[in-house]
């Protein structure tokens, strides 16, 4: 099947010369979940705004659902649903009124609106709060309503901008389930931005890592981790063994890595964990703890940018 999202050289510059997105390319095949991963200010939301026709690009082009985002905006909007980072809600309306309005905006017939509204409220767990004004909703409830609104007209392509930021663990896993269900049962293509490595790892078929407006790595989570390759072994010295002695032994197996509690080394292929254990034994070194870390997407980010993804910028602003 054709690509659901095709992006070529997309650029967005804001006043004052800030290049929020500086020339990205990406392809999302229909029916896949694409994880767009990056730290604060990387350009994730700006990309989403361009792809959802909310913001015109400065340069480059993109097709969503086969339609050009600049020349065929109305067709793109018909095809997509979007839950933006800041929930787009009216404090004077109830949850149910939001859904009815959304369905009306999308031209769904009046007779079908009631049933569909109930169905969506049920699906996001807002049935009991449906007739309260959303001014009194919690942050998580607003996000869930926003998701229901994005799904109202059964879009083929769904954009979710940091959908789990500010959700409690329970709501987060419920949202993950829903995203997976949409893909599996309805064949929806999902473009999901996140700052959480775990989220991209669990959900995404493919991951794009964006930093300072550029895609620094792209592929399946497995292939990205494989590219970084080797796992890291971390050892904590036990009684009678010094850090220096451990370092001498481990350094034979690869490049030393920063570690807060012991000595860490990224295995370079000279041997696996077994060889490390044998070498420690042969040297009669006493080890208090020994860990094998598989590479994570954070390692990928670190390798590509020299910075750690988590906590690489100032902390995210609290959700409104």
């Amino acid at each position: 099947m054709k690509g659901a999202i095709e992006v070529r050289g997309l650029v967005r510059e804001f006043k004052g010369g800030i290049k929020a997105v500086s020339g990205i390319d990406l392809d999302v095949p229909a029916g896949q979940i694409y994880g767009f991963l990056g730290p604060n200010g990387a350009g994730k939301s700006t990309t989403v705004h361009m792809l959802t026709t909310l913001l015109p690009p400065t340069a480059g082009s993109a097709r969503v659902g086969g339609f050009d985002i600049v020349k065929e905006g109305p067709a793109v909007r018909r095809t997509i649903g979007a839950a933006l980072q800041e929930a787009a809600l009216d404090p004077l309306l109830t949850g149910r009124e939001h859904l009815k309005l959304q369905l009306a905006l999308h031209g769904v017939r009046r007779t079908e609106r009631g049933g569909r509204t109930d169905e969506l409220l049920e699906r996001v767990g807002l049935r009991l709060a449906a007739d309260r004004k959303i001014g009194g909703y919690s942050g998580g409830m607003k996000r869930r309503l926003d998701l229901a609104l994005a799904l109202a007209h059964r879009p083929r392509i769904l954009f979710l901008d940091e959908p789990t930021t500010g959700l409690d663990p329970q709501s987060r896993s419920a949202l993950w389930d829903e995203v997976v269900r949409l893909k599996r049962d309805e064949g929806v293509t999902v473009f999901l931005t996140t700052q959480y490595l775990e989220e991209a790892d669990v959900l995404a078929d493919r991951v794009g890592i964006i930093d300072h407006g550029r895609i620094v790595a792209e592929g399946t989570p497995a292939s990205l981790k494989a590219e970084i390759g080797r796992p890291t072994v971390e050892a904590m010295p036990g009684e009678g063994t010094t850090q220096r002695e451990l370092e001498g032994i481990l350094a034979r197996f690869g490049e030393l890595q920063p570690s807060t509690s012991g000595i860490a080394v990224r295995l370079d292929g000279q041997g696996g964990l077994t060889e490390v254990v044998r070498a420690l034994d042969a040297a009669q070194a006493n080890v208090a703890a020994l860990h094998l870390h598989s590479p994570t997407l954070d390692d990928v980010f670190l390798a590509k940018t020299g910075r750690s993804l988590e906590g690489s910028e100032e902390p995210a602003e609290p959700e409104a």
Binding site: H49, T52, T53, L54, L55, P56, G73, P74, R77, R78, I80, A82, L84, E86, A87, A88, L89, D90, P91, L92, L93, E97, L101, Q102, A104, L105, H106, G107, L149
Partner: protein, 256 residues
């Protein structure tokens, strides 16, 4: 037509908010009534002023002013609602759902008319209870209300243009200012002939004068320069429609 579907949905929501939120509803009703009672009642002695020869009397004279003023301000106040939508981010939802975004603008206009309709109704009832004389025929009165609806549209288009350019509630004074000025330099309390010379000169150039005089001639049943007044208001609508649509394009370019 999806554009009309969007307009209807947006209009419904503006009315829903207006009629379920007292802080939005009450001022829109109270101010025109207050003006009408204060001016028509408090200044009724103007009837005796030499040179005041309006056939339908001072109550009708003031009624036309308050009717047109309330129409204009119902349009302007709807502009506050537009700004609020940009501030809450709700405008993005509309932008994402509307195939043709001019439908959003038309929806706001529907909201403005609906909100004014109730005011106009109550104002009319109060005026009739106060013994307002109506000299005009059914057609004349229809034309008067039609004129007011068009003025409402002008007010909405003006304030929508400002709202979509600035997208902050700090734009509120700017939305009201030109309307206040236009009303200030118009024969609000007395006929234009009785204004001070300098004010009369300005008032004669002010299109609001034309609208007021045409409206008053309609209620008196002696239509005068009504064609020109309608032409003028349609010209204003054309101009401010462009202003509002270009404002919409600016909001689109800024990303809502």
């Amino acid at each position: 037509m999806r554009t009309l579907t969007v307009a209807r949905a947006v209009g419904w929501r503006m009315l829903h908010n207006n009629f379920t939120t007292p802080s939005l509803l009450i001022p829109g009703l109270a101010f025109p009534l207050f003006f009408f009672i204060a001016f028509a009642g408090g200044l009724s002695r103007v009837n005796d002023v030499p040179g005041f020869d309006f056939p339908a009397g001072y109550t009708a004279f003031q009624f036309v002013f308050v009717l047109l003023q309330s129409a204009a301000f119902a349009g302007v106040f709807t502009g506050f609602g537009i700004v609020r939508d940009f501030e809450t981010g709700f405008a993005r939802r509309l932008m994402l759902a509307a195939p043709n975004r001019v439908g959003i603008l038309l929806g706001y206009a529907l909201g403005a008319i609906g909100r004014w309709a109730l005011t106009a109704f109550i104002l009319t009832v109060v005026a009739l209870l106060a013994g307002m004389e109506v000299g005009g025929s059914g057609v004349d009165i229809f034309a008067l209300y039609a004129l007011a609806v068009l003025v409402n549209f002008v007010g909405l288009l003006w304030s929508a243009g400002v709202a979509m350019r600035l997208r902050t509630l700090q734009a509120a004074p700017l939305m009201q200012l030109p309307i206040f000025l236009a009303l200030f330099f118009a024969p609000v309390f007395v006929p234009v002939e009785l204004l001070a010379d300098w004010l009369e000169t300005i008032a004669r150039l002010n299109p609001v004068t034309l609208l007021l005089e045409a409206g008053r001639s309609l209620i008196a049943g002696a239509p005068e320069r009504v064609g020109i007044a309608f032409t003028a208001v349609f010209a204003l609508i054309a101009g401010f429609f462009l202003w509002a649509v270009r404002g919409l394009r600016k909001a689109e370019a800024a990303g809502g």
